[in-house]
């Protein structure tokens, strides 16, 4: 961190600009100029497939870098409104030109991902957070690694494998990727390239349109690992993708007693049954003084239905933007099914469904 930036972040400066921060002033000169706020300029938008893009970004000096596997909150302004989503970093950590990239699959009803894919232009300024997330490679990478991904869950794993390649990792890396078909697959050319590396095994399985004469088929199965000669109990494994894939892998690893070797990240939250028949009780929004009958949707969705506008980011439980205090009641995590019933605890409302009467500080 530059000495100027450190000075700008110091307490004396903060007391001179109180109650605002120095960034409120620097922002008026130029948005890229900041002591704390991370901003980046779009360098290039690369079309990966018909519905996936990679956005290359050059961040300002406040960016402290990322660890492969992490994600970033990505905000773009359209029609005066900043829209923020979480996207995984997909580039190698070894990039020397100060850029990094995120890769995004355009969801049919995803406003930001559609915008990125179709309209984002180079030179646009975007609003970022620092890189976040625990789904990362360890400091000392073991020799043997298994990386598994499904669909657009490939992006964080891609960042890992690219970094491993660029940093000269010599151990055996197996990359097992599930996609619906070859045309749905992101980074096809890069995966071909990686497959040519002597220590890397790339296996791609197309679940809907299987390629001819392949040895592996269908959804994840323990046979896939056996076929590749991988021992789950001794191989550090990363898996990222849809909830179905992760559930399968998690159960398999648990059965084999290899749960401690597994690192997981959900890429898409399973959709919740909106008018769940078993939804009971009342959801109360303490700050606004509003009560609503529990509809079975996530607390975030129910709050929005009640006319509130709570802050949110990724809407899939990773970025923590929507975390608020739950004053009382029990909630169920939509992915893990974990139930939390403590009073006065902080929850991410985008992935929590109320069970019975719940009171939140909104």
């Amino acid at each position: 961190m530059g000495i100027i930036r450190r000075a700008l972040r110091s307490r004396p400066v903060a007391s001179l600009t109180s109650p605002l921060t120095i960034d409120h002033y620097l922002d008026q000169i130029h948005p890229m100029l900041a002591a704390e706020n991370v901003r980046a300029r779009v360098v290039e938008v690369i079309r990966e497939t018909g519905d996936a893009s990679t956005v290359v970004l050059r961040p300002n000096g406040t960016w402290t870098g990322f660890i492969p596997g992490q994600h970033v909150q990505f905000g773009v302004e359209v029609e005066g409104k900043r829209r923020i989503r979480c996207f995984s970093v997909s580039s190698s950590r070894a990039a020397k030109d100060g850029t990094f990239s995120v890769s995004v699959k355009a969801h049919p009803d995803g406003y930001v991902s559609q915008f990125l894919h179709h309209q984002l232009k180079p030179k646009t300024i975007v609003y970022l957070s620092q890189a976040e997330g625990e789904f990362v490679l360890p400091k000392d990478v073991p020799d043997n690694l298994l990386l598994m991904s499904g669909g657009s869950g490939v992006t964080p794993v891609m960042s890992m494998i690219r970094t491993l390649r660029d940093s000269g990792h010599r151990g055996a890396v197996t990359f097992l990727h599930y996609a619906r078909s070859r045309s749905d697959e992101m980074f096809s050319a890069d995966l071909d390239e990686l497959a040519a590396e002597p220590n890397v095994t790339v296996k791609r399985i197309y679940t809907r349109e299987p390629a001819a004469n392949v040895d592996l088929q269908g959804r994840f199965d323990i046979d896939h690992l056996e076929h590749l000669g991988i021992d789950p109990t001794s191989t550090l494994t990363y898996v990222c993708g849809p909830a179905g894939l992760i559930a399968g892998v998690r159960d398999t690893y648990a059965e084999l007693g290899a749960a401690d070797q597994l690192r997981m990240e959900y890429f898409k939250v399973p959709s919740v049954d909106l008018d769940a028949a078993d939804a009971t009780g009342t959801l109360s929004f303490d700050g606004a003084g509003i009560e609503a009958a529990n509809s079975g949707a996530t607390i975030l969705e129910q709050a929005e239905a009640a006319g509130l506008k709570p802050e949110f980011g990724c809407r899939m439980g990773v970025c923590n933007t929507c975390a608020i205090k739950k004053n009382s009641g029990a909630v169920r995590h939509v992915v893990s099914g974990e139930i939390r019933a403590n009073t006065d605890e902080t929850i991410k409302i985008c992935v929590q469904v109320p069970i019975g009467d719940v009171n939140v500080a909104l």
Binding site: S18, P19, G80, A288, E291
Partner: protein, 429 residues
Amino acid sequence: MAKKKLAPIKPHSASNHNAAPLSLINKHSDKPATIGLEYMTYDQLDDFGRELDTVRQRVLDDLGQKDADYIRRVIKVQKASEVLGRVGILFPFFLPVFIVGIALLAVAKILDNMEIGHNVMHGQYDWMNDPMVDGARYEWDNIAPSQDWKHGHNYIHHTYTNIHGMDRDIGYNLFRIDDDQPWYGSHRFNLPLAFLLMLVFEWGIMYHGVELDQYLHGKITKEDFQGRKKRAMQKIRRQVFKDYIAWPVVGLALVPFVGWWAPLAILGANIAANIIRNVWTFCIIFCGHFPAEVQTFAEEDAQNESRGQWYLRQLLGSANISGHAPFHLMTGNLSYQIEHHLFPDIPARRYPQVAEDVKRLVEQYGLSYNSGRLSKQMLSVVRQLAKFGIKPSDPYKIGNSPESKALRRAKREEAARRTEDARTPHLTS
């Protein structure tokens, strides 16, 4: 089993901290509120409410880039004034620059408090999802901590506007400004006290937000009160340190060139800018609610009010100030106080536009629309303060007279009896 919800009126808030408008509910009676019956029927009141809802929705649907550009432009002007003002007051040896510096600093503080702070903290720009104009996070250049101000202003004042016993902004527990307030001896000093408050208005707002009176009457808990006190003390420390210590200390660098008095001059400039801001905000705010003809309401009349009645109460309880565009900017468009009270959470730059619709409705229903020049409204406020400061001849209007005490006791007993009556059938059935 259908549960009775606490929010009978659909909340239209654009932000999660502005809970208005939740109407006043009588738990023991379904009798509809009587507000506005001298102007229209219940059906007409419902139409009136629907029309205003439509006006509101039309603006909300149209929010976009131009509103974002506008508030950012105002912020840019505000920041430029502030920086230039702070630089200007570093020239105490060159009087014209020094004075312009004070003026620019005062303008910056006024813009921050009015068009930016007040409006942002109403949640008017929350839809932009930009942390710099986020109502929940904004903290203004004012002694009053935003959190407690938002509760007292956005919630209490904007929901229970001009209801005696509910809206703590009627005379701020300090002045008698309305005939329905009981008179106490201290009200003899209505005018001189108002003059003093004008000079230190930001401290008054802070003190109002601490809610010592509510605590002493047992209306808020000790923890609540202590929290308010703590936040106020923290904000006081920061504001006082910035304006009266840190910036004058920067002026120490001038001492070798200017003389020992340079930091004192800078301190004086900060005090002057704060006072100018206080005088201005005091005038605008007093003109918004305290001129003659602005109506106040009794709690009994407002219980179980409809959305239309809520709107009508806002309309009759506020007053506008006419003027040119730069004037409206400097008031934070609170010169459109009526429109602001009808639609507290739509961007204030839209008030001139919605005023046309409001005036049309006012004509249609034969209502009064209180508007006038600053001098006229200010004069009216001064006259009201003077008039209601005089001891009334009617002993029932004197707060600590035996008659008025007996009257209040009778009212309390009557209310308790009604409550009991309303409960009895439930107990026997």
